[in-house]
């Protein structure tokens, strides 16, 4: 279905970890170990959060990156972005509230929880939040911002996600020597299909 995995054939960020400073290497490789058990999400929230985050992260069929666990760990530690919208509760409560609303919406639409709903219905429910306006008394755009900030921060903190976008990750103390358009380091892999703008192609 998707070709994103083979745009940078053989590119393996973790394979370069011996070139990273030890503090950074510790932080990054810890993300690739077995994820910690969930601490923040409880009960029905777990299945719902898992479904939402894997949908947002585009990995319903193949959840290789532990986005759920990474988001859970952040929320359990209270690691916010340092602000919240005045019209949303604090982040943890906002996550709990919005997951409950999604389950309610799924029940009204399909008679199931959000996690048990067919993917096309799940997607339609998420899309209706993106499309904006008021959602259960909350500004939908701010809810979307909350969900996607947490999802994307987890997803693109993971070396597997860097593999598929050609980004080499940590760069200390090695740095870069070949900067400039079209110039690669020996450890970078060129895009195998450079002329394909993926979204234009999908459109």
């Amino acid at each position: 279905m998707s070709g994103r995995r083979d745009r940078f054939p053989g590119f393996d960020v973790l394979g370069q970890s011996r070139h990273w400073d030890p503090v950074t290497a510790g932080v990054v490789t810890a993300r690739t170990g077995p994820p910690a058990p969930l601490k923040f999400f409880v009960g029905a929230e777990r299945a719902c959060a898992s479904a939402v985050l894997n949908l947002l992260a585009g990995q319903v069929d193949e959840p290789r990156i532990p986005v759920l666990e990474m988001v859970d760990a952040r929320l359990a530690a209270g690691e916010t972005d340092g602000w919240r919208y005045a019209d949303l509760p604090e982040d943890g409560q906002a996550w709990r509230d919005t997951l409950a609303y999604l389950d309610g919406d799924a029940d009204a639409r399909c008679g199931t929880t959000f996690a048990a709903a067919p993917e096309k219905d799940q997607a339609a429910l998420l899309q209706s939040v993106l499309d904006g306006g008021d959602w259960h008394g909350l500004p939908a755009a701010h809810v979307w911002s909350l969900w996607t900030r947490y999802a994307c921060t987890a997803l693109y903190a993971h070396p597997s996600a860097w593999d598929e976008i050609g980004f080499p990750g940590p760069a200390y103390p090695r740095g870069y020597k070949n900067t400039g358009v079209g110039r690669l380091e020996s450890f970078e892999v060129p895009d195998a299909r450079p002329a394909e703008d993926p979204v234009v192609e999908d459109a």
């Binding site: 690691e79 693109y156 976008i165 103390p173 703008d197």
Partner: protein, 545 residues
Amino acid sequence: MPGVRSRNESAWLLPNDGTRTNHRLRRDMRRFADSDEIDLVIVGCGAGGSVLAQRLARAGWRVAALDAGPFWDPDADWVSDEAGSHGLYWTEPRVIAGADPVPLGSNNSGRGVGGSMVHYAGYTPRFHPSDFTTRSSDGVGADWPLRYADLRPYYAAIEQELPVAGEHWPWGDPHGYPHRPHPVGGNGEIFLRGARELGITAKVGPVAITNGRFGNRPHCIYRGFCLQGCKVNAKASPLITHIPDALAHGAEVRADAMVTRVAIDSRTGRALGVYYVQGGRERFQRAAMVAVAGYSIETPRLLLNSACDRFPDGLCNDFDQVGRYLMVQGAPQTAGRFDAEVRMYKAPPPEVSTEEFYETDPGKDYKRGFAIQTVSPLPITWAEHVVAQGHWGRALREYMSDYVHWSCLGALCEFLPLPENRVTLADEKDGHGLPVARFEYSQCDNDRALMRAAQAVMENILRAAGADEVITIQRYAHLVGGARMAKQKEYGVVDGNCRSFAVPNLYITDGSVLPTQGSANPALTIMAVAARAADRLAAGARGAG
């Protein structure tokens, strides 16, 4: 650069063995007792507080600078990683509101010794002479109680101390830089190419990143993680440009010390010192003079949280000026797609700028202007750009796989100072039981017109360089104002020397005193204003206020 070392030895006080912190200097640091009435206690060790500490320690003052965050060690504390740099940002609770709420945290709010300059990109342009008189010249904004000429020598001095690298600068007051411009990476190359096609002048710089050794600071390694704290010691922040020299001259830096209140003597109306929390204990540092340098959110919050009998509505707030006229710059970022690989993550994000659109153009229907600079978002931040186009799920992953093909420019639009854009206290409390800041922001028509104009110019540059697709995300950058300087006490919180109108021995020496912001990144100006205030203080009687 003859002369720099004789007035600021910081770069020579750092180790030259490949490590980044002079632990001995910190271990042997002078330490004052809470009961000592020191000459000056400074709240916040960022751009303004650190310069003030260094200058006055050199002048022989007994100075302690308190910071709510850690005394960073780049080797042990910082990582070459986006998500892992979360600790660099001020992430205590804050509430954002208004028609155009402005995200804080990683966007504009630092934590720990070095302040927001630890994670700023590194751009250090000067303000233009016109920035100081926009009310009388352009009919918008405010006039400063000082002029460009008053800051000029301080700009030049700080540029040498950071030091700044760049081409000869043709805009504003034309000037050169102490370090030669850096070579550009893919993103800078695209900007220069597009600008050349359109006849727009663009220049490499000005960035506070060493190009060549400077003291014991090494050359930049073009790692691209400037916004995550420079592990190389190449990018300037006060942690390495002013704090080492301050320590060597007897200043104390007291880290992990959150100031909760400025104490005022109800009989004399003078500041007595500051209450602070360290290690879970409330303490009180006596001082003959207090300088608040907590930046545009925490400085007004501290003043408001320091309400007392004499100042029932907040310290220095007799005229309802505290927290007002807080500004951010409109900072739309426009990216362009190229079949060639740009790989914008290689080389520092700050590379190339144009200030050709900086001032009022009589042919336009808006006042003042904008600057355009390279920005080079790393993957998490780039994902925000893609999400802003409405992509999520599989489409997001597909679009992200195209990362190496994108070039990204950012504008800084001079949003106008408006009284309603302000910090107040929220009902919510932080871990110390103190009300948190609530920051309201709403744009005016001129602000929106600038954003549109800047986006159009960026799209043109990228298309002229060969982009076949362009996308834009609406963002904000920087904070200034919130306790502005003015000629008269009815219109501001401090005078042109950063001395508060209401309390004779209370100063504010950070970005919150700026009455306007131009289209320039504010760090250099914040430092220059603090350096000037320090000069005035050093010339007068210490503690006299």
